[in-house]
């Protein structure tokens, strides 16, 4: 069966003065209609780059150097920029990390909303305004009629993120890519925004790719989890399985490091070391310098993603491939 969005062997490189470095390596995953998938990992794991690659919007000097992004039967990576523009903000919407920075400070909320509709739909200005009002109501913004003439600085951070979500809804997209949508917000607001987002995905039948480093958020909202490390997928599976029974040593480390899973009075557990930089990738499995289960083969060969007990659970680890420790 065809998936709504299918990423095949995606590779993204950055052209630096010292040569090309690979930021995303052999990333493949899919997304079905109305499904919610979490993309997790540390900063620099390549989650955001993957998200932007889906709408072919990678900042220079980065570029997609291989693989396919199949969306509704077409390969976005191979489309012309005009064709991609018809998909961006229309069929696939994005929500950025910091609502303080995403909205243009000199344009009114109304302008920033209607321009998106007018760019994609053949409607009059008045109709566009009506759509904007309707979406503002959907994200529970009080007295939306007044809001259209206001400017971003007149709103709080949480309100702005609601507006960004409303903008994402304007064209009734099939997919929303949310890149750390709550990271820049107050803890109390984070839960509200997350609830709103998952509620809307449900009611509007939209698929969601949630990019975050916060496992807690992912486990509340998503159906499946994709764990990334140093530009590669290391584990993939149903959210409840991965959270309750992580397989890859990296995922185990992440879950063990959650404050919720700690015992009172003990020091917080953490994964030793830091993620390698793109210019200085270790040979073999890029996680091996930090791994407890490291074996000689880990330093030589990159482990492949293999199926474990069912087709939804994939893991890239030599130690698990041998059927050994799990």
């Amino acid at each position: 069966m065809d998936h709504l969005l299918e990423i095949q062997n995606l590779e993204v490189k950055f052209r630096l003065r010292s040569g090309e470095v690979t930021a995303i390596n052999d990333v493949s995953f899919f997304l079905d209609q109305g499904e919610r998938v979490g993309l997790v990992g540390e900063s620099g794991a390549g989650k955001s780059v993957t998200g932007f690659a889906i709408i072919k919007l990678i900042s220079k000097p980065g570029f997609i150097s291989g693989g396919k992004v199949l969306f509704e039967g077409r390969d976005i990576a191979g489309l012309s920029i005009e064709e991609v523009r018809n998909i961006r903000g229309n069929r696939i919407s994005m929500i950025f990390q910091d609502p303080m920075m995403t909205l243009n400070p000199v344009l009114s909320i109304g302008t920033q909303m209607t321009e998106t509709i007018l760019a994609h739909k053949n409607v009059s200005k008045a109709e566009a305004q009506a759509i904007a009002l309707d979406k503002l109501k959907k994200v529970h913004i009080p007295s939306p009629e007044k809001r259209l003439d206001q400017y971003p600085h007149e709103f709080s951070g949480g309100m702005r993120q609601r507006i960004v979500i409303a903008i994402a809804l304007l064209t009734d997209p099939a997919v929303i890519i949310a890149d750390e949508p709550t990271t820049a917000l107050d803890v109390t607001i984070q839960a509200e925004i997350m609830d709103l987002l998952s509620e809307l995905c449900e009611s509007e039948k939209m698929a969601l790719i949630l990019i975050t480093h916060d496992l807690g958020v992912v486990s509340q909202v998503t159906d499946r989890i994709i764990v990334m490390y140093a530009g590669r997928i290391v584990e993939q599976g149903l959210t409840r399985d991965v959270v309750s029974n992580p397989r890859h040593p990296y995922t185990k480390g992440l879950i063990a490091a959650l404050p919720e899973s700690q015992q009172r009075g003990k020091a917080l557990s953490q994964i030793p070391g830091t993620m390698p930089s793109l210019t200085d990738m270790p040979q073999g499995c890029s996680f091996h310098p930090r791994c407890e289960l490291v074996m000689p083969i880990c330093k030589e060969k990159v482990p492949e993603l293999i199926e474990l007990d069912n087709k939804n659970a994939l893991v890239a680890c030599h130690a698990l491939a041998k059927g050994g420790a799990s």
């Binding site: 961006r88 919407s93 910091d98 007149e154």
Partner: protein, 324 residues
Amino acid sequence: MFAFVIRRIIQSLFVILVIGFIGFAIKHQIGDPVRDLVGISVSKAERDALREELGLNDPFMSQYVRFMKNAVRGDLGMSFFYKKPTLKVIVKKAPATLELVFVSSLIIIFLSIPAGVYAAIRPRSWLTRFIMGASIVGVSIPVFLTAILLIYVFSVELGWLPSYGRGATVSLWGWETGLLTIDGWKHLILPSIALSSIMLPLFIRLIRSEMMEVLQSEYVKYAWAKGLAPRRVYFVHAFKNTLLPVITVGGVQLGILIAYTILTETVFQWQGMGFMFLEAVERSDTTLLVAYMMVVGVVFVAVNTMVDIIYGLVNPTVRIAGRK
């Protein structure tokens, strides 16, 4: 918005007061009004009597207050050379300078915006390299040299354009304008190019660097992610934000342009305020010098106030601050 404008106007009045103080201090120290009024044959006793009568022995502050009171009424003293009120002399010279500055500003605005925006959007194209290279050359050559080069090429060698003066002017409600005759325009071309030769490259570079910074911002990336057309992203999302710092700097630069006319007007024998100023320096016409300073100061403040008000119109954050 209204309160914001009022506050800006009050602030500028204060600045004018300070300019008046400095102007008066110069006049008080250097000028001798008695010399302006009488000939060599007048005796010392008569001079002292006149001095007392004119209130020149009064304390500094009370003289300053009198000076400002007269200034408000439009009386900035008599020019010793022209034997006429200084303000009248300046007002007669002002149209020439203002028209020159006006045309130069038009050149700057209409060339720097497209050039700067283009250079920011296509940083690697050969045209950008040419614009940026030429702008360095433009900034580096002093105005008077540019002016002389222009005269040499277009007046002496090619003989296309006149080399000095304003040409035929028409009086329009007392304003001697050269903008309504073809001859006047011909005379305007070279001086206005010379005058804009420093500011134009500066503006191109300023607009380019501001625009490039804005293009890196999150909200521009977001605008792309919304699937907007490039024209809309560049000219609505990016350009409006680029304008804010450019307007601020631009206002100050426009004032400096008036000061730069001194050089341009001298080379082209342009009968404007700058030329008059240089003549006044040679004749030590202190009253006229101080009057010129006051007038230019007021123009400078007025331009800056207007720029601030325009800034408020473009930037909603300032507008709100004024609303409170």
